[in-house]
């Protein structure tokens, strides 16, 4: 029974709760027990998944009882009311602890909820706990967390991807029915690809960033991670919508995708849908096993009625340097708020004001965060600003125009998510450039503000999952998720689960 509940999609569980097959507190208890057992295993023998940084049992059970009361009173706030969810630890939840996986914020208790959390709670969501991640979301492997690494449930010697690695690992290991992550350069999509999950990086401005600890403000977006496109559609419908507290929240009203996406495979399939595959995303830079999976997926999409063709998408090779200049510049500015004064870590060795700033930051931040702050200081410094930062902003515009031209010809740009399947723990952590290049197919989507859906498309080396992404023009989430749903109705990659640890 318990393992059946844990295998359900969020929508299936929501339905079981609605029909009284199981109550929200019962379901929540099952996931809490599984998550706590994994934490215990990690503590004892260092071989858990270690998906969570913190689990707030009391708050989760209180949320669950509230949701159950609302459902029994006939108020039915969403199709996933009463369903538990795991939240990335850079999204503020009032009352608990939110750390961004940094020593700098160990024990930090946010005095408010992120807007995304308020929206989830209004919809009857039950927050199980906060998930592990790369420190301040800076990384592609979840290895830079101050609170230890997360292991990939498909192979514990591999990384789960990053930075939302804990959120993805929690869903893959059935320690949460779905999860919330954030994506600045691929941080939702790449962990989904590594853990055989579906995830959405929404259009910039469709989910409020209020209460998301800022990394790179012109790139960051919160989005859902789930077992399939339907769960993501429902979760995104809840998360999206305007927020007065975020001036970049440009969406007029929330996505309402539940209706369109619940339907079975339409008789027309994907007829009329034009899909372009950038040939330079399928060349030597891509591992053979992932290329084979994406190629087969393109054939399946064609069988389902879509028109697919290769085309040249210029400038892909410039996306990573452009992304890292802009992301580091914004990170350097954003992280200047951590000064050891109002909140966060303060060095015990500080003897004057200047020490409070310099020692607190030096002792509170990890290596990758400090590295990026220094890169940011460099590209914004007098003498280098034009050659690096200004240049990157100009190239960002060129990349945007290249995609705009592609979207005149294609509804969807199809590409791999990551050049390889999940890599080994320790494999790239000492080589920052190799880690940065993990973002080669994902970073451009954040630069242009477009939405993208990552979804499973097969299995490569060692039986590890491979992912592809559907990229569309701004606010095309409905079309992208509908296409993903049609694909998932015709395939079963996304239904395959990793063995119980």
């Amino acid at each position: 029974m318990n393992s059946d509940i844990r295998k359900m999609t969020a929508l299936e569980l929501g339905k079981a709760i609605k029909t009284g097959e199981i109550s929200s507190p019962e379901a929540t208890r099952i996931f809490l027990d599984a998550a706590l057992a994994d934490q215990e295993k990690e503590k004892k023998s260092k071989n858990g998944v270690n998906a969570y940084i913190s689990i707030d049992e009391e708050a989760a059970m209180r949320d669950a009882r509230d949701a159950q009361r609302r459902i029994e009173a006939g108020e039915y706030p969403s199709p996933i009311a009463g369903v538990p969810v795991a939240v990335k630890d850079n999204i503020c939840v009032e009352g608990g602890v939110t750390t961004a996986a940094s020593k700098m914020l160990e024990g930090f208790s946010p005095p408010y909820n992120a807007d995304a959390i308020d929206k989830l709670k209004d919809a009857g969501a039950v927050i199980l706990g906060k998930t592990n991640m790369d420190e301040f979301a800076m990384g592609a492997s979840s290895e830079t967390s101050y609170f230890g690494i997360t292991r990939n449930p498909w192979d514990p010697t591999r990384v789960p991807g990053g930075s939302s690695g804990g959120s993805a690992a929690a869903v893959a290991a059935r320690l949460a029915p779905y999860a919330i992550g954030s994506d600045t350069g691929g941080s939702i999509r790449q962990p989904c690809a590594f853990c055989n999950l579906t995830g959405v990086k929404p259009t910039y401005g469709s989910v409020s960033r209020f209460g998301l600890m800022a990394f790179a403000s012109s790139l960051d977006q919160i989005g859902p991670i789930g077992k399939d496109a339907r769960d993501c559609a429902v979760a995104l419908s809840i998360l999206s919508g305007p927020d007065k507290k975020d001036s970049t929240s440009v969406i007029k009203e929330p996505f309402r995708m539940c209706e369109t996406i619940h339907g079975e495979l339409p008789a027309s399939g994907l007829k009329g849908l034009k899909i372009g595959l950038p040939s330079n995303c399928m060349d030597d830079g891509l591992a053979d096993d992932v290329r084979a999976c994406v190629t087969t997926a393109a054939e399946t999409l064609r069988d389902l009625g879509a028109e697919t063709e290769f085309f040249d998408l210029p400038l892909i090779e410039y996306a990573v340097p452009t992304y890292y200049i802009i992301a580091c510049a914004e990170a350097g500015s954003n992280l200047s708020r951590y000064d050891g004064v109002k909140y966060g870590f303060r060095s015990e060795n500080a003897k004057d004001m200047s020490d409070i700033f310099r020692l607190s930051r030096s002792e509170g931040f990890g290596t990758e965060v400090k590295r990026r702050i220094m890169v940011g200081s460099f590209v914004l410094s007098s003498g280098y600003f034009d050659a690096y930062y200004k240049k990157a902003l100009q190239v960002r515009g060129m990349i945007k125009r290249a995609f705009d031209e592609a979207f005149e010809r294609y509804d969807i740009v199809l590409s791999p998510v990551s050049p390889t399947v999940a890599f080994e723990i320790g494999g790239r952590i000492s080589d920052p450039l190799a880690m940065y290049l993990s973002d080669i197919y994902t970073a451009s989507v954040n630069l242009i503000g477009s939405p993208a859906v990552a979804l499973p498309c097969g299995f490569g080396e060692g039986g590890l999952p491979a992912g592809m992404q559907f990229i569309g023009k701004a606010f095309s989430e409905n079309m992208l998720l509908t296409a993903a749903n049609v694909y998932q109705n015709a395939t079963d990659y996304h239904r395959r689960e990793c063995p119980e640890a």
Binding site: S109, P111, P321, V341, K342, G344, M374, S381, G397, L433
Partner: protein
Amino acid sequence: MKTDDSLIEYLAELSKLKLSPEEREARKADLGDILAYMEKLNELDTTGLPEMTHPFDASNRFREDEVTNEDRRADMLRNAPGSKNDYFKVFKAVED
């Protein structure tokens, strides 16, 4: 881009970081590689092109300045690493 001691020291100062000797050596090497990689953008001619600072054509979204929060001094101070008499406590910043 040559990442010598003086550049690393300058960046540490701008970033308000104090680096250990090991960190300084490590940053000299890896920042050198990273900045060299970023110079790939020099292959592109961007003369006269506009700078894209935001994903969309952004215009300010104005709203009335309304008070929506109440006094939550205790909540704010709860996270402070040092506080005294309802204030954040730091070292003396102004000379006598």
